[in-house]
């Protein structure tokens, strides 16, 4: 981790890791210092014990050479002691405190003999690098010549100070041991820290993976691509958040799709309308121009035909504008939500079509299962009127002509239908029939707006409309109202 990172760039994971690593380091340091202290105490006490024993031993060894004042013997005796690694010097003094032997190069540290010189006790001075241990050497002398009075009591024995032994015990070993300890503890804590970080990293990955996933998905949504449903591993807080996120993402996608669809419909609508309104204008201007030319030339025979083109273009335009106003009224007049008796309403419509039904010899069957429905009665009337009118218009010439209006009852959404056994619709045109000003046959009357209006009304009632049809066998228009989406 660098120390120049911007605050915002630190991820949750890295923050936790950073904190834990710092904590780990602190604990390691405290642990190391503590271990060092304990170890130091142990090593010190061990060294002191060793110093005590060694010094007392040296005193014993030095006793005889000191008595005999044999320097060579003394040197020989202590050479063995010199093999003890902790010992940095061994010195002997005689009873007059004069240095006899110094087994070390250079000068011994200063040492006063003021205290304890006549008591059998260790005097330890601590220096930076060593313990300086001083110990008096005594010799036991019998009061009388030994062997004469065998039963002589012990306490008549007299101790005589014959010199001092002084040994320096180096602390180097302790320092070395401590250096070693620092290195080992540091390595161990480093190892544990790394393992800890690794485990923590794995744990954090498990924890933050769903969050990272959510973050990426949210970013994708912002850019307009919708992710598939994110997997939910556990039913915990993050799992719940993920589920909620999935629902949110779905509903945004749904809404966007709907808006796109509406937008496309609107685009298509304005495209078609502008195209269809332009056409008659060209017709009118074109034939005016031709008529003008013909009048100049004096040829009059085609004029009535040309005038007819102009008249019908004007009429057509009038019709288109009228239908456009109908469509816009449909959007902007108030929607009255009321309970409608469907059967009654359709029977009323039937009376409007009484004449054409009779002329074309068509029977109209209204299912008795049609009951009440909630909706805008004027608009729904328009739906049935348009569908029945279409069925009559495209009935064809077959002998038994039938229009059926009914309902398919379902648990979720009832389906209403208007079915005829007329000429039917070629499958490749079926998707186009709901477009505005769309006429499959330009010889039929009407502006091609009826089904556009029907579709719009059904949509206002939160329903869908679709057609199933086979050429020569008839068409069925199905629609739903107040559709409940089961998702």
């Amino acid at each position: 981790m660098t120390d120049t990172f911007a605050k915002k760039d630190i991820s949750f994971k890295n923050r936790i890791l950073f904190a834990v690593t710092i904590g780990n380091l602190l604990i390691s340091i405290i642990y190391t210092v503590n271990s060092l202290n304990i170890q130091q105490a142990i090593l010190y006490s061990e060294l002191l014990k060793k110093a005590q024993i060694t010094t007392q031993l040296a005193a014993k060894i030095g006793e005889l050479p000191l008595i005999t004042k044999n320097k060579a013997l003394l040197e020989a005796e202590i050479s063995e002691l010199k093999t003890i690694p902790e010992i940095s010097f061994i010195a002997f003094y005689d009873s007059t405190r004069t240095l006899i032997i110094n087994k070390q190069q250079g000068i011994l540290p200063d040492r006063s003999f003021d205290e304890n010189y006549d008591k059998e006790a260790l005097s330890i001075q601590e220096h930076l690098n060593l313990f300086d241990v001083l110990y008096p050497v005594f010799t036991s002398k019998a009061w009388e010549i030994p062997g004469v009075f065998d039963n002589m009591p012990q306490d008549t024995e007299k101790k005589e100070l014959i010199g001092w032994v002084r040994i320096g015990f180096s602390k180097n070993f302790i320092q070395q041991a401590q250096r070693k300890l620092i290195i080992t503890t540091s390595l161990i804590s480093l190892g544990f820290s790394l393992i800890g970080i690794f485990i923590l990293w794995q744990l954090l990955t498990i924890v933050t993976a769903p969050l990272t996933q959510l973050f990426t998905a949210a970013k994708n949504i912002k850019q307009g691509t919708y992710p598939n449903s994110l997997p939910v591993a556990f039913n915990d807080e993050i799992g719940m958040l993920t589920e909620e996120f999935n629902r949110m993402s779905d509903s945004i996608r749904e809404r966007e799709n709907m808006l796109n669809q509406k937008n496309n419909e609107l685009k298509q609508f304005s495209y078609i309308v502008s195209h269809d309104l332009k056409s008659p204008l060209l017709t009118i201007r074109g034939f005016i121009g031709i008529i003008e030319k013909n009048i100049k030339k004096g040829s009059m025979e085609s004029l009535p035909e040309y005038f007819n083109f102009i008249y019908s273009a004007v009429d057509h335009m009038h019709k288109l504008l009228h239908e456009l106003i109908r469509v816009s009224k449909l959007e902007y007049t108030q929607f009255n939500n009321q309970i409608i008796e469907l059967r009654e309403m359709i029977q009323e419509i039937q009376t409007i079509f009484k004449l054409p039904l009779k002329q074309k010899n068509i029977s109209l069957k209204i299912s008795s299962e049609l009951a009440t429905v909630r909706g805008d009665s004027l608009r729904l009337r328009e739906v049935f009127q348009n569908l029945i009118e279409n069925s009559i218009k495209f009935m064809g010439q077959q002998p038994s002509r039938l229009i059926e209006i009914g309902i398919i009852k379902q648990e979720a959404n009832n389906i209403y239908y208007v079915r005829d056994n007329g000429i039917g619709i070629n499958p490749q045109y079926q998707k186009r029939i709901f477009n505005i000003f769309e006429q499959l046959d330009n010889k039929t009357e009407g502006a091609g707006i009826g089904l556009t209006i029907v579709k719009r009304i059904i949509e206002l009632h939160k329903g869908r409309i679709w057609v199933e049809s086979e050429e020569g066998k008839g068409s069925t228009f199905y629609f739903t109202l107040w559709e409940t989406t089961t998702s």
């Binding site: 332009k278 008659p280 060209l282 031709i290």
Partner: protein, 153 residues
């Protein structure tokens, strides 16, 4: 105004246009300039498809000559102009025939789609008659007089 009938063989034009008034206008303006060119007028996409692919009502008519040139409107009943264009340009027998879109639509999407489907030219019908007449005259000079068509297979 000049005429286009320099060529010995008359040029057959197939006009696919659902608006009878527009079809009449086109015919009048083209005939003003050239009497020799035969114009066949069809009013919807399906009939045009039958005619071109010799199907349906045209299946028996083996002598039916392929047009030299197709003038095509975009918004047609039954089969849309763009779909018809696609069919023509996907057909090994028909793709050599120049197709010229003649429509009131100046929508970018329409123009792009038409060229994507290898249209040979795209003309927008002007609303003023003078401009329309001038456009058709230029069209005549170029396509019927200057342009060289492939020989029929």
């Amino acid at each position: 105004m000049g005429t286009f009938f320099k060529k010995s063989e008359p040029i057959n034009i197939l006009l696919i246009e659902d608006n009878p008034a527009h079809a009449e206008l086109i015919k009048i303006v083209l005939h003003e300039n050239s009497v020799k060119n035969a114009i066949t007028h069809l009013a919807d996409g399906e009939t045009a498809m039958d005619y071109l692919f010799k199907r349906g009502n045209y299946s028996d008519n083996k002598n039916l000559q392929q047009p030299h040139l197709i003038l095509l409107d975009l918004r047609l009943p039954k089969i849309d102009g763009l779909d018809l264009l696609k069919e023509i340009k996907n057909s090994a027998d028909l793709k050599h025939i120049p197709v010229i879109i003649l429509t009131t639509s100046d929508e970018e999407a329409d123009i792009a789609k038409a060229y994507d489907n290898h249209v040979n030219s795209y003309l927008v019908k002007p609303l003023e008659f003078e401009k329309f007449s001038a456009l058709m005259t230029r069209f005549g000079f170029y396509w019927l007089d200057s342009n060289v068509f492939p020989s029929k297979k």
